[in-house]
């Protein structure tokens, strides 16, 4: 007689679950499935882009000249430049304002003012981009025309502002400002959330050393929020890079690389070019537009990787430990 038969496990043992934990299994399946789904979707998008871009990428310049928009790289590089250039200025305009508003809401405003202001900012994010496009092309452009003239007259010696100013105000400057307004809410909301997470301990440490409010923000809030600010800016940049309607409705756009921001002739972004040209394209022209989309995809990916690298560079000092 073995020991096991002498000590049979009691049928009603509280340590052995009588039925499997269904909730656990379902949740695990759901979360794993969602994780995999992201990869599948991303893979499908990448495959689609590469497969449909391929015919344009391997075609000779002559074929593209007759059936598409001309030699691929000399066509797409100005578009890539226009994309990055307008988004860069959108960030330059939006980030300081966004951080300022977020800081005001999180650390300066009285509570009664902070909440409504937060709602208003979030409301900005709910405005459809076509509305921003209409506003930018009709209202903002003409309103900014005097500013264009003024900048060209008095600051024309700066290369950015040189040349004949546009008479309509539909320029890369106006476009960047529209984009800045569009990306402002997302950057503001995320920064505000991160600023509010600053540990009280660190804020008090700074204050107890005799820091003023602004010094406390520099010592405790900004260092803590650094990674969050970078992420917020990258999300904003992502939106600006991919923005289609607002850019297409403000700019007519030419195939040029120009840093001048006030002239009649402006570089346009990849997304806007695709949107403007797609309805009248067929055959190889469509493949060429998709290849431009692939370039945009690569730019966005590169920007995100750089952002990750910036965040991870000083991980030991991040405050996460």
């Amino acid at each position: 007689m073995s020991l096991t038969t002498e000590r049979p496990a009691p049928a009603e043992s509280s340590l052995i679950p009588s039925k499997p934990r269904v909730g656990d299994k379902v949740f695990k399946g759901l979360s794993t499935g969602s994780g995999i789904l992201i990869f599948v979707i991303l893979g499908a998008v990448a495959t689609f882009l590469v497969a449909l871009a391929f015919p344009a990428l391997v075609s000779s310049p002559e074929t593209l000249e007759s059936q598409g928009f001309g030699e691929f790289w000399s066509w797409v590089i100005p578009l890539a430049f226009g994309t990055v250039w307008s988004s860069f200025w959108a960030l330059v305009f939006a980030v300081p304002v966004a951080i300022g508003i977020a800081l005001f809401i999180s650390h300066y405003a009285p509570r009664k003012l902070a909440a409504p202001l937060g709602y208003v900012i979030d409301l900005l994010a709910a405005v459809p981009s076509v509305v921003y496009g209409l506003w930018g092309g009709i209202a903002l452009a003409s309103a900014l025309q005097p500013l264009h003239a003024w900048l060209a007259t008095y600051l024309g010696w700066i290369p950015l502002f040189s040349g004949q100013p546009s008479g309509t105000g539909r320029t890369i400057l106006t476009t960047s400002l529209v984009l800045a307004v569009m990306i402002l809410p997302i950057i503001t909301s995320l920064c505000r959330e991160v600023f509010l997470q600053t540990p009280k301990l660190h804020e008090e440490a700074a204050l107890a050393l005799g820091a003023t409010r602004w010094e406390m923000v520099q010592m405790a809030v900004f260092p803590f929020a650094r990674a969050g600010i970078v992420s917020a800016v990258m999300l904003g940049l992502g939106r600006a890079l991919g923005e289609t309607m607002a850019v297409a409705m403000v700019l007519s756009g030419a195939n040029v690389i120009k840093i001048e921001m006030l002239n009649q002739q402006n570089p346009i972004s990849i997304a806007a070019r695709i949107a403007l040209d797609f309805p009248e394209s067929s055959g190889l022209a469509v493949n060429q537009l998709i290849a431009a989309g692939l370039v945009l995809f690569v730019i966005t990916l590169a920007v995100n990787m750089v952002a990750r690298w910036i965040v991870s560079r000083r991980a030991a000092f991040s405050g996460a430990n």
Binding site: E203, A205, A211, T212, R314
Partner: protein, 259 residues
């Protein structure tokens, strides 16, 4: 350095709530004064009012006088920022700035004063403060590493170094050892004994033995009930408080009969 604090009929409010009522006391320079009492008795609030840190909470204010060598800390036009530069504070949980290196942490307060100091002077100040906090030998080879990589006890001594680098008149400590193990606690207690040669030290503690070990004077705070303001019950030499206190409540508390 090392100044006398005198409170005269000090009431402390958070909005409409009176947290501490009618405290009058003298804190002597170059000595350690301990505040003891049950939770919620207002001893931490009173400590934080000494460098106006309680004003971090909106609606906090005081009524009465608080004098630092005769100068009213709550007088008209007095800037709390300047008060805090003269009265340093160490908190319950070690709070070095995680994004700064050990050296940057020590010099953080000095940077605020915008003093133009050479690298040599700064290094010297950092070393002096770290030696003062008995931490130099342990960190001298890793001054550029993050302060958050140190042990809890080392982090707390780093915070003390950060406070004394400012050469304050008074050093306030709000339960500085409550998050530390016994060995780190002993290191901090030894340090307090050394620091009192140069500083006025006020320490809040829940640990009666600690108050008995480190302090020269002990103040006992108590509270009549929830929602009531805390009051100073008795203040005397530590020896007297722990042997023959004159108030029954003090004796009950230190013998462990309540609280």
């Amino acid at each position: 350095m090392s100044k006398r604090i005198e409170a005269k009929n000090l009431d402390i409010y958070y909005g409409k709530f009176k947290a501490v009522e009618d405290v009058s006391m003298v804190v002597e320079p170059r000595a350690v004064t301990a505040f003891i009492g049950p939770s919620g008795c207002g001893k931490s609030t009173f400590l934080r009012s000494l460098n106006r840190m309680h004003e971090v909470i909106p609606g906090a204010y005081v009524d009465g006088e608080l004098l630092l060598d005769g100068e009213d800390l709550y007088g008209p036009g007095v800037d709390p920022v300047n008060v805090r530069r003269q009265i340093g504070m160490v908190f319950q949980r070690p709070n070095p700035f995680p994004t700064m290196s050990i050296k940057e942490n020590v010099l953080a307060g000095l940077k605020l004063n915008n003093k133009r100091a050479s690298k040599g002077e700064l290094d010297e100040t950092a070393e002096k403060a770290l030696r003062g906090a008995n931490l130099w030998e342990e960190v001298k080879n890793r001054l550029d590493l993050p302060g958050s990589g140190l042990s809890g006890g080392q982090q707390q001594r780093l915070c003390i170094a950060r406070a004394i680098a400012m050469q304050p008149d008074v050093l306030l400590m709000d339960e500085p050892c409550s998050a530390l193990d016994p060995i780190s606690t002993l290191a901090i207690e030894d340090l307090i004994q050394e620091l009192k040669a140069n500083y006025t030290i006020v320490i809040v503690t829940h640990n009666m033995q600690q108050a008995a070990r480190v302090s020269d004077t002990t103040a006992f705070f108590n509270i009549a009930g929830t929602g009531q303001p805390g009051k100073l019950i008795e203040m005397d030499s530590t020896e007297k408080i722990f042997s023959t206190p004159s108030v029954k409540a003090t004796e009950d508390y230190i013998t462990g009969r309540f609280g």
